[in-house]
């Protein structure tokens, strides 16, 4: 009931995802550990697999419960039209454009200080390209990206700057998974 309100998933979706959660939970203790995620082959070969797995786990913890699991997946719910206008007073839904962008921001922001520094960007870039690009070239890509985005001159990308850079990007489409009813 609460999960439904918080995440916006329908009852049957929650049931289906719960059985998915239990099938991943090899230890059968109601929580997932990092190993449980890494057992999914398609996730293990994803270059940003570790960052994505990290996104599920709350600060400093090694286990995620079903609620946390659903909360993270909720970011990928497609944005429905009827949700945009209703409930202006309540908290923002997890799958709003802003929250989707925030999720992507957190993938880069390794130390969670709300800024993407050059080092952090380099590290994430390195994850995505593997060993196929030299340090120099990677550095120049990082510098260019920061140059384009940085507006207040601190050589780092804040969340506001991040949003500005991506304002033309169709975030809704890029970060939505079509969940079946």
């Amino acid at each position: 009931g609460e999960i439904k309100k918080e995440t916006g998933f329908s009852h049957s979706q929650i049931t289906r995802l719960y059985s998915r959660f239990t099938s991943l939970d090899k230890g059968e203790n109601g929580t997932l550990s990092r190993e449980d995620f890494q057992r999914i082959p398609e996730l293990a070969i994803n270059p940003l697999g570790d960052r994505i797995i990290n996104a599920f786990f709350p600060e400093g913890e090694d286990q995620v419960n079903f609620r946390g699991f659903m909360r993270t997946l909720a970011h990928f719910r497609p944005i429905e039209d009827n949700e945009k206008s209703k409930d202006q007073n309540g908290p923002e839904p997890l799958n709003s454009r802003s929250n989707k962008l925030h999720f992507a921001f957190r993938l880069y922001d390794l130390d969670k200080d709300d800024k993407i520094s050059r080092d952090e960007l380099l590290q994430v870039l390195r994850m995505m390209v593997g060993v196929n690009i030299s340090d120099e070239q990677l550095g120049s890509i990082a510098d260019r990206t920061i140059q384009e985005a940085d507006q207040d001159g601190d050589s780092a990308i804040s969340f506001a700057e991040f949003v500005k850079v991506l304002e033309k990007v169709d975030v809704e489409q890029k970060m939505s998974i079509r969940f079946l009813h």
Binding site: H11, S12, Q13, T15, R16, L17, S19, R20, S23, Q38, R39, I40, P41, E42, L43, A44, I45, N46, P47, L48, G49, R51, I52, A55, F56, T72, L73, H75, F76, F103, A104, L107, Y108, L125, M128, V129, G130, V131, N132, I133, S134, E136, Q137, S140, I141, R144, T145, A149, F162, V165, L166, V169, V171, K174, M175, S176, I177, R178, F179, L180
Partner: protein, 444 residues
């Protein structure tokens, strides 16, 4: 007097039972003649299951029980088939954007919600309930008629079919051990070979019948010949039994302990089989050498290999290990497809022991399967083993109506190799650094 009569009555019943047993089950199985009883039985079960499905559908309409909504096993998510190039690049090749991480995160979360691989190592979810308790989701409460049929089914399966099948199995194992010991005494020669082949096929046929199996063989003109390699998709140990009841093979398999090991070792007495430890399998040269020696002798039996290397749940065909395709010789592909609504033949070796598996099989309605013998295939000039393996795999999957997966069956137990991740990284790098835009020429 009373006791005598009772005792006499009991003996009479027992003897009738034994006579029926021998006439209706044992003899036909041994001589591989079908009396049509099993076919009739299967038809009845089909009718019952159809009726049950209708009942359940009506029940859904009437009661709207939420648990029934999960009956239909559709997926959790619907994936869009786009490639990395399309998603990330669009019209902007050669340029890195902060939004690129979104593609990976979306793919990653899709994999978390539902992936193509892990569920292949569990039993297939059924579209509709097949009146077995193990696939039940509180469905027996839908209507009282269904409950009665379900209870009746339990009685039949556990009290009638199970003892019958257990008897048959015990008998067939005894026969196997006895017969192989007898045949072993014969002097080596053609008579001995022929005899041992007959014994093998007979015991396998008995074994299939005792597990409630009903097999349809198709295209028997393509049956494997000596000096060739027979290749099939793997779902359970029953595959071996089923194939062995229609032809003689030399097995290539890992050694097992317990009951299965006993059976394997008895077979070893009269025929040449190649048995390994799974850890020894890493020594591929040894395997290949043994197989090559074996098939060089045309008089020897064809070798039976399951290139997937492990049991998959019969909905897809996973990666074929290239080892058997490097050896040369003619490959005879065989497709085996089980009908899941009568009983689940898949052995989840990480979850059930062999004895539990056999028990489950014996208490199902039946094991109905189709075996297609496909025309022989040979490696073409200049074709490498991996390509050939994929070709054979595609043919088998197409015949059996299964999907083809590039993933390795070994993922059941092991983790993914790093090289796959590196492939993904390489692909991405190619998109981001299109020549000319980054200046430094080709690095990828």
């Amino acid at each position: 007097m009373e006791e005598n009569r009772e005792g006499y009555g009991f003996v009479k019943i027992l003897s009738i039972w034994i006579i029926l047993f021998v006439v209706l089950a044992l003899l036909p199985s041994i001589f591989r003649v079908s009396l049509g009883i099993s076919h009739l039985y299967v038809k009845i079960i089909i009718k019952v299951l159809e009726w049950a499905t209708l009942q359940i559908e009506e029940g859904v309409k009437k009661q709207k029980v939420l648990a029934l909504e999960n009956l239909i096993s559709t997926g959790i998510i619907q994936r869009e088939e786009t490639s990395m190039e399309k998603e990330i690049a669009g019209h902007r090749r050669g340029h890195f954007s902060l939004a690129d991480a979104m593609y990976f995160s979306k793919k990653g979360c899709e994999a978390v919600a539902e992936d193509e691989v892990t569920w292949r190592f569990y039993s297939e979810e059924l579209v509709s309930w097949n009146l077995l308790s193990r696939t039940n989701a509180n469905l027996h409460n839908v209507s009282w008629q269904l409950t009665i049929v379900w209870v009746f089914g339990i009685l039949i399966r556990y009290c009638l079919l199970l003892p019958f099948r257990v008897c048959l199995t015990l008998f067939s194992i005894l026969l196997l051990v006895f017969a192989t010991t007898v045949v072993r005494q014969f002097p080596n020669g053609r008579v001995k070979c022929w005899l041992s082949n007959q014994v093998q096929m007979m015991c396998a046929a008995l074994g299939v019948r005792s597990l409630g199996g009903l097999v349809h063989f198709h295209n028997r003109e393509n049956r494997p010949q000596g000096g060739g390699i027979c290749v099939a998709n793997h779902t359970s140990p029953l595959d071996v039994l089923i194939l062995a009841s229609d032809g003689c093979y030399s097995l290539v398999s890992q050694t097992h302990g317990g009951l299965l090991g006993l059976v394997l070792r008895s077979c070893m007495q009269t025929t040449q089989h190649v048995l390994f430890e799974r850890s020894e399998l890493k020594d591929r040269h040894l395997v290949r050498k043994k197989i090559r020696e074996h098939i060089a002798d045309k008089a020897k039996l064809p070798v039976l290999i399951f290139p997937e290397g492990t049991c998959i749940n019969n909905t897809s065909v996973m990666m074929f290990k290239k080892g058997s395709f490097e050896v040369g010789g003619t490959i005879y592909p065989v497709a085996i497809k089980y009908d899941p609504c009568f009983g689940d033949a898949f052995w989840n070796s990480t979850k059930h022991s062999f004895v539990t598996f056999v028990f489950n099989v014996m208490t199902s309605w039946a094991i109905v399967c189709n075996v297609w013998y496909l025309p022989p295939m040979v490696k073409e000039e200049g074709e490498d083993a991996v390509h050939f393996a994929n070709r054979v795999k595609a043919v088998i999957a197409a015949r059996g109506g299964m999907s083809v997966l590039p993933w390795d069956g070994g993922l059941k137990r092991k983790k993914v190799k790093e090289s796959f991740k590196e492939e993904q990284q390489k692909k991405y790098c190619q998109i981001v650094t299109e020549n000319g835009s980054m200046g430094n020429g080709s690095v990828c």
